[in-house]
């Protein structure tokens, strides 16, 4: 039992003190038994306050402290650190959340918020009284990271980690690395080519001995936790071994009788079941699309490297952490959305970019020469709540302005009409918008309430809009091609989501713990996210977040060991009659049978125990407890909260 407790009540600027009467809280807990001092502080987390708490611990010989401030998710570790530096065991520290769960939740009721805060602080004091000093456990951690997804982001994560001395498994589901970037052609106003960027990165990846690249690879099983994950990876057969010559590859592709839609060109063209890598996709080794292949064997004659006997292989890997770089899919418009799928001249922006790549000097689509292009923005972005994606996809205004500039430059006689909802070329991208305006592009603006109408009259297509920029005037233009500026949605990958269980936000993108404090970490320790699987980003932003993830996880694993939370299960052998319930309940095989003085009892294997406590309610004799959540602690907290 702790006898000399220090209690600190934080104003948090006004975040707490505006809705909770701090003086009342102080007065209410001052006379609690074993409370030695009570102080208030403007910002408990500020350095000066931290120092004050530290010197109180030292000078007054406090044996436990309670800070009533914000959510422990923000500052539990901050104050545990304060305790530790002052020589107090960090587990004799209790954080009470009177901000998120009192002042903010009850900002409509100051009396109620204050009353609740008082009881919460009392419960915290009760917990502190019963708190025990715990020693954290050091375990070896593999300085090895599995990077999932080998687009630009994944490759940058891998390269960054490898250069800092971390071993990397780069795991790509597709048979080719490069992700979405090679599909875009020119990706910046400076003329950077997506395919060249991925080629450079691929060369950097293969040059590094501490990166192992797996293509056609998927995570099918994961166990363990940060520092020590065991994975099973399924490697789909490529059906091609070695490095066939370009001629052999071509011959085999021509020999293949099976044609399917080419995903790389977003279905604008067909490809064979015998797949050739596109420009910017690597390795430049073909692969056979198992789902389309009829196993007719025509390709085997043309290319000796084809081996149709290959089968799925499963390998196991041991890693310390994951970085998920699974990227995005372009939004797929609904049938009939702005005429998509119904009119033959309505395509998406990614399709249009492929079309631009496929046309040399003249822009032709479906045999028709294209002169007037209407871009309709925010397709699949900034939708109504009930419709779906309420978010802005960030990259599209800039990408479309750049596309319009490139189209005019490449094909000359082009007139671009931009039907937008307010151009969002943030930062330096403004210059791209300016270039589009300067070349004579026409910008018209609509609101969600009155979206552009597409109409086919005869063999001509018209776009009609109430233009905000001309005081709501109804304008109409003819268009040869309608380009739907589709936003980003997270790339579909249900198997991975199932395995890693990363929480997603309302927008279905993976969620970081905190946008500013911990932007690349998820609530699952050791599973980091980077790039567009977290939120829409352009290439530069993707690269930055990928390298930030590399820095974060390297700094965690580089020491080769981790300290584990000591909040583990603990058996009281005197009360234990070994019934096996606890070991059956444990999902981590952390409970073993042992013998003490001839009596069979349970024992906790500490390096396997994750501190979930699943074993505790199933014990018929109440012989197993979770440190930090003992009966004494929880029940004394309930006593405090129940006070009238």
């Amino acid at each position: 039992m702790k006898k000399k407790i220090g209690v600190y009540v934080c104003h948090c600027g006004g975040n707490i003190s505006d809705h909770v009467d701090i003086e009342k809280v102080k007065a209410a807990v001052r006379d609690e038994a074993d409370v030695y001092l009570v102080k208030n502080t403007l910002f408990a987390c500020a350095d000066s306050s931290q120092k004050e708490i530290g010197s109180d611990i030292e000078n007054e010989h406090l044996d436990a402290i309670v800070v009533a401030s914000c959510s422990p998710k923000l500052h539990l570790n901050t104050f545990r650190g304060v305790a530790q530096r002052a020589g107090l065991n960090p587990y004799n520290y209790v954080q009470v959340n009177i901000r998120e769960q009192s002042s903010w939740a009850h900002s409509d009721n100051k009396t109620g918020a204050t009353e609740k805060a008082i009881l919460l602080v009392k419960a915290g004091i009760a917990k502190a009284k019963e708190s025990e000093a715990l020693q954290s456990l050091k375990i070896p951690a593999a300085n090895v990271v599995a990077v999932i997804g080998a687009g630009v982001g994944g490759m940058k994560t891998a390269i960054g980690l490898a250069d800092m001395g971390t071993e990397v498994y780069l795991i790509e589901k597709d048979f080719f690395v490069g992700g979405r970037t090679p599909q875009w052609g020119t990706v910046s106003p400076n003329g950077d080519e997506g395919a060249i960027l991925t080629e450079k990165l691929y060369k950097e990846v293969v040059r590094r001995p501490n990166i192992t690249l797996f293509t056609g690879a998927e995570l099918v099983e994961k166990s363990g936790s940060i520092g020590n994950f065991d994975l099973k990876i399924a490697l789909r057969p490529r059906f091609v071994s070695g490095n066939p010559s370009t001629e052999a590859m071509q011959r085999a592709a021509e020999a293949c009788p099976v044609a399917v839609k080419d995903d790389f060109n977003f279905g604008l063209t067909n490809r064979r079941a015998f797949m050739l890598p596109a420009q910017g996709q690597f390795p430049q080794v073909p692969a056979i699309d198992q789902s389309a292949c009829t196993r007719c064997g025509e390709c085997t004659a043309a290319c000796h490297e084809v081996d149709l006997t290959q089968e799925v292989q499963t390998i196991t890997l041991h890693v310390g952490a994951f970085v998920v770089n699974t990227g995005f899919d372009p939004y797929q418009p609904a049938q009939g959305e702005y005429g998509y799928g119904e009119l033959d001249n309505v395509i998406t922006l990614p399709q249009f970019r492929r079309l631009m790549e496929m046309n040399e000097s003249e822009l032709v689509f479906n045999g028709k020469k294209i002169k007037k292009i209407a871009y309709i923005y925010c397709v699949g972005s900034r939708q109504d709540d009930d419709e779906g994606n309420t978010y802005c996809s960030r990259y599209c205004c800039t990408a479309t302005s750049l596309t319009a500039v490139l189209a005019k430059k490449k094909f000359g006689n082009i007139i671009n009409f931009h039907f937008n909802r307010g151009i969002r070329t943030y930062g330096k991208h403004e210059l791209v918008y300016e270039a589009a305006s300067k070349q004579g592009d026409i910008f018209l603006q609509f609101s969600l309430k009155s979206i552009p109408q597409i109409e086919k009259r005869g063999n001509k297509t018209y776009v009609k809009v109430k233009d905000i920029l001309t005081a709501g005037k109804e304008l109409e233009t003819e268009a040869d091609l309608i380009v739907l500026v589709t936003g980003m949605v997270p790339r579909k990958n249900e198997l991975l989501a199932q395995q890693l269980k990363i929480p997603t936000g309302r927008d279905h993108f993976f969620n970081e713990i905190h946008m500013k404090l911990r932007p690349v970490e998820t609530v699952i320790d050791g599973v980091l996210i980077a790039g567009t699987c977290q939120s829409p980003k352009n290439i530069l932003e993707t690269v930055n977040s990928s390298m930030a993830a590399a820095a974060k996880i390297n700094s965690v694993l580089t020491k080769g060991e981790l300290s584990l939370e000591p909040t583990l299960a603990k058996v009281n052998p005197a009360a234990c009659d070994w019934c096996d319930n606890c070991s059956k309940a444990c999902p981590f095989d952390a409970i073993l049978q042992t013998e003490i003085n001839g009596k069979k009892v349970a024992r906790v294997n500490e390096s396997n125990c994750k501190g979930c406590g699943m074993c505790t309610p199933v014990c018929p004799t109440d012989a197993i407890d979770l440190a930090g959540y003992t009966n004494a602690q929880v029940e004394s907290m309930i006593d405090a909260l129940a006070e009238a």
Partner: protein, 437 residues
């Protein structure tokens, strides 16, 4: 004591010199220090934390800025691998024969013995010299001896010698005898294997746009001044307009003040103003429920995660977004202001009266640091930001090998993007250091 410390610094070899201790510099320093590198973090201001520590809340989560930034500030301050020098400027950086950087630093005197000051503020009470408080953006005054702001780190006093009357009142008042007028400017020499430039941005000074009347009309203020009025460490505990201390009830925001404007030499978008104004509007509507808040904009750049939803939320709360560029502002006798603009919704030139106008000022490059690099040139782009020589593949790389850039030194960006960019710079630096050894 002093001399010993100086020799110690002089002899030091650091893995990384980080210039600028705003959030970018802190984040890079922390990541590298966590990896085991020795970092010297140099800051020209008396306190670390940059501009973020002065903000109210941050978009789009409305977390209080201080709550997010102070823990990083203290983590930085007490990290065993990080040495911090405040009030220190870099004078010269030159590559030596061992492919390291020989760095000359100038440490300005604080006139207060840092390690002895307890932050009791007795000196402030005693000081008779009153001057504008730059950390409150001149909204209030401070003394010549002062602690920069409540949550400053280090929370230690300093003497603004230019405004000091040398009366000695502070010396008499100080209970720990730490006022020391004999301190001199020191020159320090250190060696660093690599450099991170995280020198941040400058705020646009709207005095350049005469038609807005900033500097002439008292009730035209900048968004940073509003930011201070909304911050937890706010000067007035209320929102007041400067001319008469009245609580305003018709507030206008003028977007793109100094951004997207060739006439002031800044054609680009500052990337943060739409959102910080939207945030301020939400905070104002919370603080002054009866007030009318109108925001005059050209385009709303609500592009990041959760931004568009945040913008929609402001509209739902009652913020009036008016599409139209402000042509001029004129002042009435009662201090109110008439905004003249073309209302895009109607196509007509319109006038509206407000009692407080906030200029959403943009951010500008802060390229001064390029001058300290000798023999090699730290290149800038057409907008004076540090040039990213491999923009898409390695955004932190600059024109000088071993010198990396983080945060708004390279382009306007918001806090999450800055943190990412600083993380990327840490990876780039760590990779470089690994190649060196």
């Amino acid at each position: 004591m002093e001399i010993q410390q100086e020799t110690c610094i002089n002899e030091s070899l650091y893995d990384v010199l980080v210039i600028g201790a705003g959030i970018a510099g802190e984040e890079s320093a922390l990541k590298l220090a966590d990896m085991g590198y020795r970092v010297l973090l140099v800051e020209k201001e008396p306190s670390i934390g940059g501009k973020m520590i002065l903000l109210s809340k941050v978009f789009p989560t409305l977390d209080c800025a201080a709550c997010i930034t102070t823990p990083k500030v203290s983590e930085t301050a007490r990290h065993p691998n990080i040495t911090i020098l405040t009030l220190t400027e870099v004078e010269e950086i030159v590559r030596d024969t061992k492919n390291r950087f020989s760095v000359t630093l100038k440490k300005k005197p604080r006139y207060v013995v840092e390690k002895d000051c307890t932050g009791c503020q007795e000196c402030e009470k005693a000081c008779p010299a009153i001057v504008n408080d730059q950390f409150q953006f001149n909204l209030t005054a401070r003394k010549a001896v002062y602690i920069p702001f409540t949550i400053a780190n280090p929370r230690v006093a300093l003497i603004d010698i230019d405004n000091c009357l040398l009366c000695g009142a502070c010396e008499k008042a100080c209970p720990s005898n730490c006022i020391d007028f004999t301190q001199k400017e020191e020159q320090l020499k250190i060696t660093a294997k690599s450099v991170i430039v995280s020198t941040g941005f400058k705020l646009f000074d709207p005095i350049q746009i005469e038609r807005y009347g900033f500097g002439r009309y008292k009730n035209v203020i900048t968004s940073m001044q509003m930011e201070r009025q909304l911050a937890p460490t706010r000067p007035f505990n209320n929102i007041l307009r400067p001319s008469d201390g009245k609580v305003p009830d018709k507030i206008a925001y003028v977007f793109c003040a100094g951004s997207r404007d060739h006439t002031v030499g800044n054609p680009i978008c500052s990337q943060v103003c739409c959102m910080y104004s939207t945030k301020q509007a939400q905070l104002l509507m919370g603080a002054l429920p009866m007030a009318d808040v109108s925001l005059y904009y050209i385009n709303i750049r609500a592009f990041g995660k959760g931004f568009d939803e945040f913008y929609e939320q402001a509209k739902d709360m009652g913020a009036k977004y008016v599409k139209g560029k402000i042509a001029s502002i004129t002042e009435k006798e009662n201090g109110n202001l008439i905004l003249r603009y073309e209302d895009i919704a109607t196509g007509k030139v319109t006038e509206k009266e407000h009692d407080l106008v906030v200029l959403s000022v943009g951010i500008l490059a802060n390229p001064g640091i390029t001058r300290v690099f000798k023999k090699e040139r730290l290149e800038t782009d057409a907008l004076n930001y540090i040039r990213q020589t491999d923009l898409l593949q390695s955004p932190a790389i600059t024109s000088i090998e071993g010198v990396f850039a983080a945060g708004t030194a390279t382009a306007p960006m918001d806090i999450p993007d800055t943190i990412m960019s600083a993380g990327a710079a840490a990876t780039e630096t760590s990779s470089y250091l690994a190649r060196l050894s």
